[in-house]
Amino acid sequence: MKEMINFLILPLLIPFLTGILLIFFAKNVVIQRWIAAFSAFFNVIIAFLLVQKVRNDGILTLDVSSWQAPFGITLVSDMISALLVLTTTIIALTSVIYSFRSIGIERERYFYYPALNFLIVGVIGAFTTGDIFNLFVFFEVLLMASYVLLVLGGTKIQLRETIKYILVNVISSALFVIAVAYLYSVVGTLNMAHISVRLNELGQSGIITVIAVLFLIVFGLKGGIFPLYFWLPGSYYAPPAPVMALFGALLTKVGVYAIMRTYTLFFIHDTGYTHQLLMILTIITIIVGVIGAIAFSDIKKIIIYNIIVAIGVILFGVSVMTPDSIAGSVFYLIHDMIIKAGLFLLIGIIIAITGTSDLRKISGLIKRYPGLGWTFFLAALVLAGIPPFSGFVGKVLIVKGGFESEHYWGAGIVLTSSLLVLFSIMKIFINGFWGTPQDYKGEDKVPVRKLLIAPVILVTISVLYGAGSEFIFPYISQAAETLANPSIYIDAVLKEW
């Protein structure tokens, strides 16, 4: 068979067509579940094949509509993009499986699965595109879908938080367009590889630093770095568990990915200012996140603040800009997406059983639910990065990069943060699972075993990811190599330039 040139678009096209198809079956929930689960599973396989293809053939590009780069929109699948797409499809699959028993028939009848699929389209599109304006478009796609998912159900807290969320994102989208317009007026192109070439020719200038900071504000708002994370703890608190898992694992990480991409491909000429600024912000982000994670005794809030810590850690690796630290960031990014999704689903089960997210009202769960307890314990160890679990490998590389480039303070704070993260998550385990068992109203109705399937899959993948890091590392270092050497990316996109 002739080589399929459209292969890299498939992980995007499958959820898109599935989402459309599901609209027609809105009232038939059983068919919706089957289609959604089958397509999500199929997409995992496709994404896995994509990673293998990028590993064997190098960066894949597709000039959409046959307009040659840099004139048309180009989709680019390099290793980091392919790996993130694979992670996204896995999280989509587990969220879909988890939703069957937890999201409720009412939401399922009102376009829950189509919205979920369109969210995945936006996320995968953002990871795959090689065009800065197209990145904006895919941000909008995922935001539109996230508005639906956030407000669906219409409880009071959801409505209140959705208004805030929409307001923040409308403003940040406006800033995004402004930033792209500034950049376009300086370099005269939207193709990301071409922008990088033009910026190289221009060299360092004041306006480019301004644009870099503007992009940091835009993506920082999406990603939740200090001081732009203010909307995050409230908004992520409102929706039900599977939506929380999707948001926590995917949406902030799209912002993180965008910073990673722009700060390794575009803004590499004035690192003394831009990356220094990024580093200071990430360190404060880690500190603020850790304080939040320790201070709250609400299990949702604890996990949400742990997202903020992780964002700080990942971006610290980017700001250090050594090959080791970037590889560490890539490794940690994927680790964090999987384990955060798993944790959100696990606390979703705890909340379903106990009917509260207040840690002071929960105790002794392990007596009646040992499976849940031990899965949670394992997830906690993975999150904190106890060797040999996956959080460890990423953090070691980030810290190593930090020490090598003599950023002792930052690296030290990253190290200390792991201890405090472990403390914050063990607090849930000790208070919630140990102690005297209680009776909770309506706990018999919760199908704990069936709900556990999805988080167990995620935690297992997480453990394998850490245990098999020797096998996985070539993929990670290929991703990091492309990020560290923009010329590889540029050559792949602008072939004959």
Binding site: K2, L13, L17, F24, D63
Partner: protein, 140 residues
């Protein structure tokens, strides 16, 4: 309160067809000149909204028993299908085909797959606009 909107209703009956025909004209004009599925769709939904204002939503849903959500989904299917059709020929996504065909009566006509894509856009715009208007209108 019963209002007397005889003038509005009579005018609407005539103007409606002019607006809809004009929206089709704009839709096809989009092929080479300004226009296209988006504006065409907005004009058509404008016509339907005028009908709703002149009469009421119940009457209109009797005349046009359309589920606008499915309409939008059908539009997406058209647009997405045209885009994905390129995969069958192993050319990059969204690549279009076009050519001149000698049709009876119409004679030499330029046909372009982009028109199908645009029809999808048209349906999505009408579907989404009407869903929004209906949802707001139902609240009373």
């Amino acid at each position: 309160m019963k209002t007397n909107d005889l003038i509005l209703q009579t005018t609407t009956k005539v103007v409606l067809f002019i607006i809809i025909l004009f929206s089709f004209h704009i839709f096809f004009a989009g092929h080479y000149t300004p226009g296209g599925g988006f504006v065409g769709g907005l004009l058509t939904s404008g016509a339907i909204i005028l009908l709703m204002l002149a009469f009421d939503m119940k009457t209109v849903s009797l005349i046009l028993p359309v589920n606008y959500i499915y309409m939008a989904a059908t539009g997406l299917l058209f647009a997405g299908g045209t885009a994905a059709g390129a995969l069958l020929f192993n050319v990059p996504l969204l690549t279009h085909a076009f050519g001149h065909v000698d049709l009876p009566i119409l004679g030499d006509t330029a046909l372009h797959t982009a028109t199908i894509f645009d029809l999808g856009v048209f349906l999505v715009v009408v579907g989404v606009t009407m869903t929004i208007i209906q949802t707001i209108g139902e609240d009373e």
